[in-house]
């Protein structure tokens, strides 16, 4: 496929395996560019200066004559975001798993508790159990969920846990092929290969037919969705009549009736976090509730669990500062390191009451 770029010093057109459309990640490895004047070879990803959603990608190209030139490129926003997310998790999944295990979400703690790293895994399990309890999911054999979808499944921690707990079938979707692969391998190793399966898919366009799942589970994936309306629509679409939707996600604080938006300072802090974690614009818990209401979903409940996750980030930072943490980070890529460096920003956001950790649940009515 051929596209064009606006160069600082020249215009050139690009050959295949580069830059455009869905093959964005392929330009990050060596590519061949056919220039107007001379063949240009794009160098590898370490030459990429800055990847910004919706803006320009700057990279260095070397012409046939050995001249390096700065050149720039506009990239579509959503694609960059999706590729960014996929690559972020492709890159960081391994190190996260080594230190934190197979659950890639916050732990649930008693407020103001100080926790050691060894508590975190049980806290992560507790998070799942508290979410199920909040949503009143029944253990009763006649009422428990039988088909579950894990939207933004990571390496399948929730999928496997829920499948085991309810003896149910679970399908997980993720943008990251590495995660899907790992999730499936873990399932097979744990004897759940026939109960859980994973697909590389987009939560905004779930590849499932309507009404398939008694339980629609989104554990800390909502923050990655650039279009919250579409995201919630899809959750509702694939939910079976009588089924339950559980969303656990980061939000910004609800706006007061007199406010039109967050303060410039608050927006600035959120933007920095978005950049590091590949997050699109944030919304509030109230926004989610409104969306669910607009879809005529019932029994809508929401809660603020910020105090129950506050001990989590200091624990993550502590683990990053261990020898194992540092060496793992150094071995991983820039995206992971950048994410790690942004963790104090999360703490600041929580402390300011700007960032909320929210749970929102509802039921799909039976016609």
């Amino acid at each position: 496929m051929v596209g064009s770029c606006i160069g600082v010093s020249s215009t050139c057109s690009y050959g295949t395996t580069l830059l455009w459309g869905p093959g964005l990640h392929t330009f990050i490895s060596r590519g061949h560019v056919i220039g107007r004047s001379a063949p240009i070879q794009v160098l590898n990803r370490t030459d990429i200066k800055d990847i910004r959603i919706g803006k320009r990608i700057y990279f260095t190209a070397v012409s046939g004559g050995g001249r390096r030139m700065q050149t720039a490129l506009n990239v579509t926003a959503v694609e960059t975001l999706q590729k960014g997310i996929a690559e972020f998790y492709d890159e960081s999944s391994g190190i996260w798993e080594n230190i934190w295990g197979d659950h890639m979400h916050h732990g649930f703690y008693e407020p103001d508790s100080s926790v050691s790293l060894s508590d975190h895994r049980s806290a992560q399990i507790r998070m799942i159990e508290e979410a199920l309890r909040f949503a009143s999911i029944s253990d009763d054999p006649m009422q428990k969920p039988r088909q579950i979808v894990d939207v933004g499944c990571g390496i399948g921690g929730s999928s496997r846990y829920l499948a085991r707990k309810y003896e149910a079938r679970c399908k997980g979707i993720t943008l990251s092929p590495v995660q899907a692969q790992r999730a499936q391998a873990l399932a097979a190793a744990q004897g759940l290969g026939d109960k859980v399966s994973f697909q590389v898919a987009d939560a905004l366009n779930q590849p499932f037919e309507d009404g398939q799942f008694n339980l629609v589970w989104s554990m800390e994936s909502g923050e990655h969705m650039p279009d919250k309306t579409k995201f919630v629509n899809e959750l509702a679409r694939v939910a079976a009549p009588g089924g339950t939707i559980i969303i656990v996600t980061w939000c910004h604080r609800d706006l007061s009736p007199s406010e039109e938006s967050l303060s410039p300072e608050e927006k600035k802090l959120l933007n920095k976090i978005c950049d590091a974690f590949f997050l699109p614009a944030w919304c509030s818990t109230a926004d989610y509730v409104k969306l669910l209401e607009s879809l005529s979903l019932q029994d809508i409940k929401a809660a603020d669990w910020s105090e129950n996750v506050a001990p989590f980030w200091p624990a993550v930072i502590k683990s990053a500062l261990t020898w194992q943490g540092i060496t793992s980070l150094l071995r991983s890529g820039w995206k992971t390191i950048k994410g790690a460096l942004a963790m104090p920003l999360m703490i600041r956001g929580y402390k300011k009451g700007l960032i909320k950790f929210a749970i929102i649940t509802c039921k799909k009515p039976v016609p």
Partner: protein
């Protein structure tokens, strides 16, 4: 990817009115043994698109499923075993799922389908 999964997947490409069922292009099929669970099969029977399952299993090389089915067949142990085999034990390891309207291929690698749509398909 099991046929149970295939029976739930559809193509959501913009403009496609009927993206189900996806056609299957087989490169590698693997048979994996799965514990027989009668209750599960009975439960699933009502939810499965039978014709899609039959067609898919034939593409995968299994021809034992009857063309049509009805609930009374669940009383036959032989039927249940065939249903079980087709639904859960045939795995597409490598190949593709194909949108029935546009012909667009969704690759399946190591048993994992990639259903991501391109920007212009959304």
């Amino acid at each position: 990817m099991r046929l149970l999964t295939h029976n739930m997947l559809s193509s959501n490409i913009k403009g496609v009115t009927n993206g189900f069922p996806l056609l299957i292009e087989v490169e590698k099929v693997v048979e994996k043994q799965v514990d027989f669970n009668e209750d599960f099969l009975r439960n699933m029977f009502a939810k499965i698109e039978w014709k899609a399952l039959v067609k898919a299993s034939r593409t995968m090389g299994y021809t034992e499923l009857p063309e049509n089915s009805e609930a009374s067949m669940l009383n036959s142990d032989e039927f249940l075993r065939k249903f079980h085999h087709a639904l859960l034990e045939l795995h597409l390891e490598e190949g593709a799922l194909v949108c029935p309207e546009t012909g667009r291929k969704f690759p399946v690698n190591k048993g994992i389908p990639n259903m991501l749509l391109h920007e212009d398909e959304v």
